[in-house]
């Protein structure tokens, strides 16, 4: 008597763990979640052969609205919920687990292969250098792409890699569509992080026999013939030379990989402001708008800002450069200096 959540892995029978197969063979009732992700027919047929009429293909209503029935059954018999990937990525299953534990139904978890680590592993990039993950939704409304766009911009500004999953709902988002959505988001939100010549890694069908990985500029990748989903994108941050070596085994543009440095909208902004402040300090000195003590003081903050930026301390870099600008602008507001930024 238990409710077992079984991760099915990336979509082909060989991805099942021995533990998953054992549960599929022995549970009294198997419920296959077929709506949170794409499950290839070959996997469904494999499970059907092993499970026979103990298998039920679940629609949303069964898992969400009729969870009471499932929990009641699990208090009497061995019930297993079969879920693509690892079981608790989708919140639906987590709620069911929480509910089961509250009702003292025994819960067991059989972990499965997940695209999160498999895609990172396939890319050859270091997992410790990945920032937050996001999903590109199926949409024509660029506003809905602001979240993944901002996650990407944020990660890039820290030199981190970004894994972007592509929505599988309603036929799914292709690599080309996803890249075009990000280019539109760039036009709309303008942080300067997604350009036609930006480096991107496209992975399709990770873990399948026909999996494919390619790296190149957005424009070259968007034009490639799309394979069947699932698709995944990785935007690299700062690359270690071993990561570049790995990427060179699958890129269509080795030169782009070699000379790559990730765009950094925070650094670019601080850099721009540092340049402006230096120029304005010269004008203030020329106009004799403040004494040497004042201008040296401002100068010190400008140089500090740049040093903080180089050390990756964005908080202090931004505070210092804002402070320096304020000091200089006060001279203008008080009518002591004339300049434009």
């Amino acid at each position: 008597m238990a409710l077992t959540f079984v991760g099915l892995g990336l979509g082909v029978p060989p991805h099942l763990t021995l533990e998953a197969l054992e549960v599929i063979r022995s549970a009294d009732r198997l419920i296959l979640d077929s709506y949170t992700s794409i499950i290839p027919d070959a996997l469904i047929q494999f499970i059907k052969r092993e499970a026979g009429d103990r298998l039920k293909i679940a629609e949303r209503s069964l898992l969400e609205e009729r969870s009471g029935e499932i929990l009641e059954e699990a208090s009497r018999r061995e019930v297993a919920i079969l879920v693509p990937g690892d079981p608790f990525i989708a919140t639906t299953h987590q709620s069911l687990k929480t509910e089961a534990l509250k009702r003292n139904v025994k819960v067991r978890v059989v972990h499965g292969l997940s695209i999160f680590t498999a895609a990172i592993s396939a890319s050859g990039l270091h997992i410790y250098k990945f920032g937050r993950t996001a999903t590109i939704p199926k949409t024509s409304d660029v506003k809905l792409v602001s979240q993944p766009y901002n996650v990407l911009a944020e990660n890039l500004s820290r030199g981190l890699h970004t894994l972007l999953l592509l929505d599988t709902a309603e036929g799914g988002v292709s690599v080309g569509e996803a890249l075009n959505l990000l280019l539109s988001a760039e036009e709309e939100f303008g942080k300067g992080v997604v350009r036609r010549d930006s480096l991107v890694i496209a992975l399709s069908r990770v873990g399948y026999d026909d999996s494919r990985i390619v790296a190149g500029s957005i424009s070259s990748i968007a034009d490639l013939n799309p394979q069947q989903p699932p698709h995944t994108l990785i935007f690299p941050g700062e690359l270690h030379f071993t990561e570049k070596e790995a990427m060179k085994t699958y890129t269509i543009d080795a030169e782009l990989v070699e000379r790559y440095t990730p765009p950094n909208y925070v650094k670019e902004r601080v850099e721009r402001y540092v340049g402006k402040c230096r120029r304005v300090i010269d004008m203030v000195i020329e106009q004799k708008a403040a004494d040497k003590e004042f201008t040296s003081y401002v100068e010190a903050y400008v140089e500090d800002s740049w040093r903080f930026m180089m050390a990756g301390d964005y908080t202090n870099a931004l505070l210092a450069i804002g402070y320096a600008e304020g000091l200089l602008d006060a001279l203008k507001l008080l009518g002591r200096a004339r300049f434009e930024w």
Copy 2:
């Protein structure tokens, strides 16, 4: 003729995928990497039984210094490298893969369960809200903990969760040791993000039959009797109510979970500066040190900073509050106002 990298999963035979088992049964030569991670004896025995004398337990030298031999053999026969977890988390194996591809040796990857997703899945926290991952090293030098400490502080300031792996080298780092190292790092680096009453999730032996998960304050968790490794820590960021519900099924302090808000050193700093600026503006007005236009202008930036902060736009929040401070400090430097921050 191929070099197959096989992920073994989290350390017990039932975690092997059907694909991994098939390779173990059929490859001409199997090389087990026993040094990048802990491999329990039961798993080694299982593989030995399946592989017999085709199995070789690798020391570091074999995989790193004698990779030429391995690649040469893989150009003639089926050679498999067996690796705990998913194969390409450790850079050693990635280099070998890169080298194989360069020499036109066919490479195949058999993905395995990884602690990265299994731990997140077990915690019930949403994978999309995890920031960068870090490792707590085996050390008594607090300087070596600055990297994971800063990753944690950074993630918390964005409301993100943090997965911290504990080093398994030299007997490994226990949960208690790791938490004490982080408390020492807090004393040293002082961002105010790790306190004895901070909420933390400790996971041990994820995926094993005796896996355990518990959440509570650092001081209560550090005192628990340690299980055998591997251990993992998760520091929660902002919690969705479904995440709180999940955590309540395993916490020893439901009240701590319920009222939890993550520490945010950037927000706290902006908040402090906003307070100071408001106070100084009042003094400037009182001292008639600047006209209404000037003080209203500064005020607008102070309020903007707070609005940016609330919207999660740290870049503009920090720039605006730094700018406001600069404007006010100029009045002081020019001898027009007297105040202390």
